[in-house]
Structures are given as structure tokens and as C-alpha cells.
């Protein structure tokens, strides 16, 4: 089963870290976590994928939906530290172009 760690950094970044598999069931929790941050006024969001062991198409959809929601309110959503297998899914779906992976969470909004 998956667990989500949600926090806000000193720089005001919202960080969502899913630990485990991001499948269809987990995708809904991911969407809720992202929406919760945006609803609370945190519009710059980093999804830390370091401990995400698997990702499916519904979780990709949740990330794209989160990206759109964040941008609508002047923010953005970025992904950090994906494993090689998770990154393969981003490449196969061409999502690596809109969700370019960052090397670390704290510096995900440095550029």
C-alpha cells in the first residue's frame, strides 16, 4: 500500500512524496494531496518521486491535472528524483517534455 508524505518547505514549496506504488487507487489520493495544497494557497508544488516504485497512466493523469490546476492559479508543479523505471513511463508517454525531472526537491524551482 502507498503512503503520502505532504509538507511545506521554508521557501513555501508544497512537497508531496508518495512512498510505494502510484496506481489507479493511489492516483486519487495524489490528486487530493495536490488539490489540498493548492486549496490552502500553496501553488508551487514538487512531487518527490524518490520512493515511488511504480507509476501508471491514471497517476500520470493526476500529475497533469495537478500541473494544470497549479498553473491556473499562477503556480507550477514539478517532479523530482524519479527512479529509472518511473522515468521510463514518462518517456514512453512523452510527459518528460512537460514534466522535466529535477535532481532535488529544494532546488526544483530554482530555474
Amino acid at each position: 500500500m502507498i503512503e503520502f508524505n505532504v509538507r511545506t518547505t521554508d521557501q513555501g514549496l508544497g512537497v508531496v512524496a508518495p512512498h510505494g506504488r502510484l496506481n489507479m487507487v493511489a492516483a486519487r489520493h495524489l490528486r487530493d494531496a495536490i488539490n489540498g495544497l493548492i486549496g490552502g494557497g500553496t501553488t508551487r508544488i514538487v512531487v518527490d518521486l524518490a520512493d515511488t516504485t511504480f507509476i501508471d497512466s491514471s497517476a500520470l493523469g493526476a500529475l497533469v491535472a495537478g500541473l494544470k490546476s497549479a498553473r491556473q492559479v499562477g503556480g507550477d508543479l514539478r517532479i523530482a528524483r524519479p527512479t529509472e523505471s518511473v522515468m521510463t513511463v514518462f518517456r514512453l508517454t512523452n510527459l518528460d517534455k512537460v514534466l522535466r525531472p529535477r535532481d532535488d526537491v529544494e532546488g526544483a524551482f530554482d530555474d
Binding site: M1, N23, M24, F54, D56, S57, S58, V89, T93, V98
Partner: protein, 144 residues
């Protein structure tokens, strides 16, 4: 029935959301037995497998069947030439044109599942036989 270097596993599960994690657990357990399967091969089959099982579960919820008797059967098979997963369910037939499956635009929030499946495996087949849906996923292995 099992030759040396051939691994087979079969199991059944109810069609419900919790089944998704259950079948992924079973798949992981299968990999620990089918030791020669490479991590890249595991990942490709798992990607396709989860999309199809997710699709079946989603479909079942959409139709809202009342008898609660929907069962999913899985047969996993690996040998030196290929890795195969056959997923069967007793749900409604699927109207699907596999030839028209394409990857949606980057900003789409859905519709990637089947395209991802097609991209991940070498063969994906759907058949309706005796009132059951059968999905076959096959990955050819590079080295024997």
C-alpha cells in the same frame, strides 16, 4: 507440468479496487521465482499488466453490476523465449479497436493506459470467448 526454466503461476481475485495492489504483490512474488527475468522486462510487463487490470476494475465499477460475482483470473508464464500474462474476466464485452490506440497529447489527463500497454509489450490481444474477456500480454525476450 513445469519444465526447467519455465515458470507458471495462476490465481483468481475479485474485481474490486483492492485487487490492484493484490495482483501487483502476486506479480512481484512471481518475479522472485522467475529469477532469470531482467528488471527491464519485469517493468514492461508490470506496466501493461496494471493498465489492463485497472481497466477491468474501472469498467466493472462503471457498469455497477449488482450480483458482486465478478472474478478476475490471471495466468503468468515465463520461459527463455517470452513472458506472458493472460487476464480473464467474466464482465461485459469490451468494444475496442486496438489498431486505433494512440498516445494522447502531453496535456491530456486520461487516455494513456492502452497506449502505454501497446508501447510496453510486443503483443497485446483481446478476445471474447464463451462469455469471458481474455487479455493476452506477451513480451519477447532478447536472450534465450
Amino acid at each position: 507440468m513445469t519444465d526447467e526454466g519455465t515458470w507458471v503461476e495462476a490465481f483468481e481475485a475479485p474485481v474490486e479496487e483492492a485487487t490492484l495492489d493484490l495482483v501487483q504483490d502476486r506479480l512481484e512474488a512471481f518475479w522472485t521465482r522467475a529469477v532469470s527475468v531482467e528488471p527491464t522486462e519485469r517493468m514492461k510487463l508490470e506496466m501493461a499488466f496494471v493498465e489492463i487490470v485497472g481497466n477491468i476494475i474501472e469498467h466493472a465499477f462503471a457498469v455497477d453490476t449488482t450480483d458482486g460475482g465478478r472474478i478476475l483470473s490471471v495466468v503468468l508464464r515465463a520461459d527463455a523465449d517470452s513472458i506472458e500474462a493472460v487476464i480473464s474476466d467474466n464482465g461485459l464485452p469490451t468494444a475496442l479497436d486496438l489498431g486505433s490506440v494512440t498516445m494522447p497529447d502531453e496535456d491530456a489527463v486520461s487516455g494513456r493506459g492502452l497506449a502505454l500497454t501497446v508501447a510496453a509489450v510486443d503483443e497485446m490481444r483481446y478476445e471474447r470467448v464463451d462469455g469471458r474477456n481474455h487479455w493476452t500480454l506477451r513480451l519477447a525476450r532478447q536472450s534465450g
